[in-house]
Symmetry: C2
Subunit: 217 residues, 2 copies
């Protein structure tokens, strides 16, 4: 089964280069070429490609907005982003838009072909420097999920109450949930506030989110 690819880049030479390279492969077929994001969205709607190879910097509509629209219209299409510039917020924006891959223009021909095949089968592939940033960002976020000592000092019941506070429940509702009196809930709350150095339930919610006890990370 051939992989049907749409190529979008505003520079004619680059566009031709990509299309030419892809065409040499038996399992890849170029079904369209676009000079900007708007045309890419059009062509994607018409041809329903398996992979949309999108340059980020393009006139009229950038590759990220194009990816967003293409994916909204045809979720089975995979977006593979390409950019000259590494150090971009583009990375995050592109991934948030639903891109499956992110390459730099210094990628070699085999790397590009590999990337197309990887995203076509539903996996994802990023340039190593991009992977580095993503991993670093991810590690930063997860690190605080290793629950700090403070939380260790909470009793099981106090932790339970804390998570219910972080779910937005009032004291009365928490009492109902735990089948105890509201007074009891207040006791737990007072002692957990003291242990964690909190003042009110709003700060408790913040604490819960910051330490991964709520909002699933």
């Amino acid at each position: 089964m051939t992989i049907r690819v749409l190529v979008a880049d505003d520079q004619a030479i680059v566009r031709a280069g990509f299309a030419g390279l892809l065409s040499t492969q038996d399992d890849i077929e170029v079904v369209g070429q676009a000079v900007d994001g708007a045309e890419a969205v059009d062509l994607a709607a018409r041809h329903r490609p398996d992979v949309a190879l999108l340059d980020i910097r393009m006139p009229r509509m950038d590759g990220i907005e194009a990816a967003r629209r293409i994916l909204a219209d045809a979720p089975r299409t995979r977006a593979l982003m390409i950019t000259t510039f590494d150090v971009d917020d583009y990375v995050y924006a592109a991934l948030a838009a639903g891109a499956s891959g992110f390459l730099l223009k210094d990628a070699t021909a085999p790397e590009l072909l590999e990337a197309v095949r990887v995203v076509a089968r539903g996996d994802a592939l990023l340039a190593p420097s991009v992977t580095k940033r993503l991993v670093a960002e991810f590690a930063r976020q997860r690190r605080r999920l290793v629950v700090p000592r403070q939380v260790e000092e909470l009793t099981a019941r106090e932790r339970e109450v804390l998570t219910l506070i972080a779910a937005g429940l009032s004291n009365g509702e928490i009492a109902g949930e735990l089948v105890v009196s509201e007074s009891t809930v207040k006791s737990h709350i007072n002692r957990l506030f003291a242990k964690l150095g909190l003042r009110d339930r709003a700060q408790a919610v913040i604490f819960a989110y910051e330490h991964g006890l709520a909002g699933n990370g």
Copy 2:
């Protein structure tokens, strides 16, 4: 400059296979082989390798804990994790521990060599299926950062108050911050509660976190 690699795997055949493959390369040197995590930590402390190739499942101490200790001791060493099993929480745990790469055992020889070189130069590389999961997770987290309509309906002042609530300030403190009376703050709060369907400031904090208005994502 040769890349100095430490190999850790409890299966002798696998270990020998990796070591043998790596040794065939001019730019790579195997400086140690460990049969479990504890020995890996020992050998890493002694040899200070550039890359530690760590199996995840190992007796006595698993690869993740080993990575954590090795990196704590020698931050310049890069951890490259290998596992037979794909669908694991291992991925997140490994990245949180500071790993720079994550491969599956079905990786080809060129892929392994490429991975070693990538992490040695400070970048990161993940198996495509792992990348997929990470990208999906990342996109999930970021998606809600595209501020929803509800927030659009808030006035500038109300948004301001909301973020201050989400920072844990009391009404009095917010009033001081905005140089208005506490009554004013309360009225802003009341109308933003109505617009967002919230009941109290705790729920407001939750809303802010869930929609990326607080806790920097």
